[in-house]
Amino acid sequence: MAGVNLKIDGVEIEAPAGENLMQAAVRAGVRVPGLCQLDGLSVVGACRMCMVEIAGTPRPRPACATPVGESMDVHTDTPRLREHRRVLLEMLFAEGQHICAACVASGACELQNLAAELGVDHVNFTPPPTRLEMDLSHPRFGYDPSRCVLCTRCVRACAEVEGAFTWGVAGRGRETHLVADLGVPWGEAESCTSCGKCVSACPVGALFEKGTSVGERRVPRALVSTLTARRERESHREVLK
């Protein structure tokens, strides 16, 4: 495979053509923040947390959705990007009800970690009050829409890995929310196999195991990535046979 030479935060690397900047950054030993990206799932570029600056391009680009290019000079951590990420993060906080003190994901939450990393200790936006009902109809899992950041990792995990297509997205703007089977309570969704991949993929505490309490999130986020990696390896073996 032809390699592409580029520079990320001053580190010169060679990456396979077709790889995106987020993957390439790992080769350069650089971690680009992100919420909607999860190894093993398709790319949507929904959260815009992974925006990077590329010399010669006027606007920042999402690292997860931008393929590597020859001689690119990429910067992942500039004052402009930091400010941009902080504002985005504040907006995410403002849209939901992110009360870490009562959340199952506290201590294992990607949103909380990002806030700590980027120094977001307060929110400057005052959104209109929202009253979103928890869906606890599923026997094993719960869904709290007020904690959802609409990364759609659950939607993709369900469709691409489990193949159940239970989760979808409905509504527009601030009304956007997840729906199970076109809008029935999760517990009534006939397509749901109760596999829990969506819960494992959730970066926050929006999807959780019922019966768990504050800071008790146990399911590994890497589950979906591990499964897809193993499947890929198996399919290679099949090809070799």
Partner: protein, 481 residues
């Protein structure tokens, strides 16, 4: 012409309140009111949340006794799941409650009330606080701070943090005691026993120094409510609830938490966010009238009055001394301070037993179950008194209704009466001396009220006294803080 004195807000209590004293034409006290002036609305915004979140959510009612809410919320959750937590979990929960009562009592006595008791009610207000105490009586301040820290460290050893540990959950607890912290607590325990004995030994001297306050600080007959153990001894977490009257006789049958609404009524007044609970039987099922025979008190004095024995040697010796001096059922609210010191001894002794129990924390820590009941009531003795959490849920475990009755609420009628008694003894006209304001406040403070919890209010506490005419016109104002 009648006049009104207003103390707004009351200081060195937890929360935000004001006091009005209405004077008649002759300048004598006509009426007194204790108002709690802020509102937070936990009972509304918890609706729609999962029952598993409730201990953590309700813990945020207050930073002084989050543990009491965590434990009571978890007990209400146990009732909804229909499970009894495993023995080890129950033992650890009890241990945390003892740590909580100890640290809060230490705060109340040494940091908040000792300045009045040791420096005097008429001493300069600028120095009548914990810093003044450190200057005047460094030893008592040091011991108080050390005792509070020990209680906080018991909480942290179990829940991982001193404030708001979301550690008790429906069915049990999240984790075991930290072994390193356990060792440290064992080492430090003896010093704390010594401090608790030393504090109790000084109580007699404080009572002797303040005869007028002992007589005027809410010395009246009332009922008392609290949890008692199966054998009628001092209890703080597991057991039935009991009412006694001013002579110590049982009022009605002992009852479990879920039956509280059969025994306790609540009235709301327009001028305060703090409701007034009362004993339904004593009121003859009626709402509260001027005589208020259903007035009852909770908290240290109630628990000590309810108990046959404390159950540990030092606390029992102190209890015998207390009763020898003040009778089987001391009625003066000043004696909340003494009861608090006896409870400190009991907590320290019981903690010692737990710290040295080789089976502490051994075995399963959590019972798992689904939603089996649509209502659950939890009760526990918070430092300030009996705490009820009453939850209703739908079949998925979503909260549909929350009611919390908090210690300070139980004491509301008694606190009103206490203010009246102090005002009658010390207020003789609109020109009220600062020391009198302080006595009125201190009467309230004897109950160690927690208004954050009881109304879910927060606030800073400067103090304003207003003297008002019958039409509300401001006649005289004293401000401080």
């Amino acid at each position: 012409m009648s006049r009104t004195l207003l103390i707004d807000p009351v200081t060195r209590i937890e929360g935000h309140a004001k006091i009005t004293v209405r004077l008649d034409d002759a300048g004598a006290v006509q009426d007194t009111r204790f108002h709690v002036v802020e509102f937070r609305g936990f009972e509304a915004f918890c609706r729609g949340r999962s029952v598993y979140e409730m201990p953590a959510l309700t813990a945020r009612t207050c930073g002084i006794c989050p543990v009491s809410h965590v434990l009571t919320g978890a007990k209400a959750g146990d009732a909804i799941l229909g499970v009894e937590p495993p023995p080890a979990a129950r033992q650890l929960r009890r241990m945390m409650n003892l740590g909580q009562i100890l640290q809060s009592h230490a705060l109340s006595f040494f940091h908040l009330s000792a300045p009045d008791l040791l420096l005097g009610f008429d001493s300069a207000p600028g120095a009548r606080n914990v810093f003044g105490l450190i200057d005047a009586e460094p030893e008592i301040a040091r011991r108080g701070i050390r005792m509070r820290r020990f209680g906080q460290e018991v909480i942290a050893a179990l829940g991982g943090r001193k404030i708001h540990p979301a550690w008790a959950v429906p069915g049990g607890v999240l984790g075991n005691i930290d072994p390193e912290a356990l060792e440290r607590l064992r080492t430090e325990h003896e010093t704390i026993v010594h401090d608790a004995k030393w504090a109790w030994a000084r109580y007699g001297e404080l009572v002797d120094a303040h005869p007028a306050e002992v007589a005027a600080f809410g010395d009246f007959p009332s009922l008392f409510l609290g949890i008692v153990s199966q054998d009628g001894n001092w209890e703080h977490h597991d057991g039935l609830l009991r009412f006694i009257d001013a002579e110590g006789n049982r009022v009605g049958e002992d009852f479990p938490a879920e039956r509280y609404a059969d025994v306790i009524g609540e009235v709301a007044d327009a001028d305060t966010y703090l409701k007034s609970p009362y004993h339904l039987g004593a009121q003859g099922g009626k709402a509260v009238g001027p005589e208020a025979p259903g007035t009852y008190r909770v908290g240290p004095l109630a628990r000590v009055n309810l108990a046959e024995r404390m159950g540990t040697p030092l606390a029992d010796a102190a209890l015998a001394e207390f009763r020898g001096e003040f009778g089987r059922v001391p009625l003066g609210s000043f004696h909340y301070h003494g009861a608090r010191l006896i409870e400190i001894l009991a907590c320290v002794e019981q903690l010692g037993e737990l710290l040295n129990d080789p089976d502490l924390g051994r075995g399963p820590l959590r019972a798992e179950a689904g939603i089996n009941h649509l209502r659950g009531v939890g009760v526990s003795e918070a430092p300030r008194g009996t705490l009820f959490h009453d939850y209703r849920v739908d079949e998925d475990g979503r909260i549909t209704g929350v009611r919390m009755i908090i210690a300070t609420g139980h004491n509301n009628l008694a606190m009103n009466r206490t203010i009246g008694q102090i005002a009658e003894a010390f207020v003789t006209g609109p020109d009220v001396a600062e020391g009198v304001l302080n006595r009125i406040e201190a009467g309230i403070r004897a109950y160690d009220p927690c208004l954050s919890c009881s109304t879910h209010a927060v606030g800073q506490m400067p103090l304003v006294l207003r003297v008002e005419g019958p039409d509300g016109t401001l006649l005289h104002e004293v401000a401080r803080g």
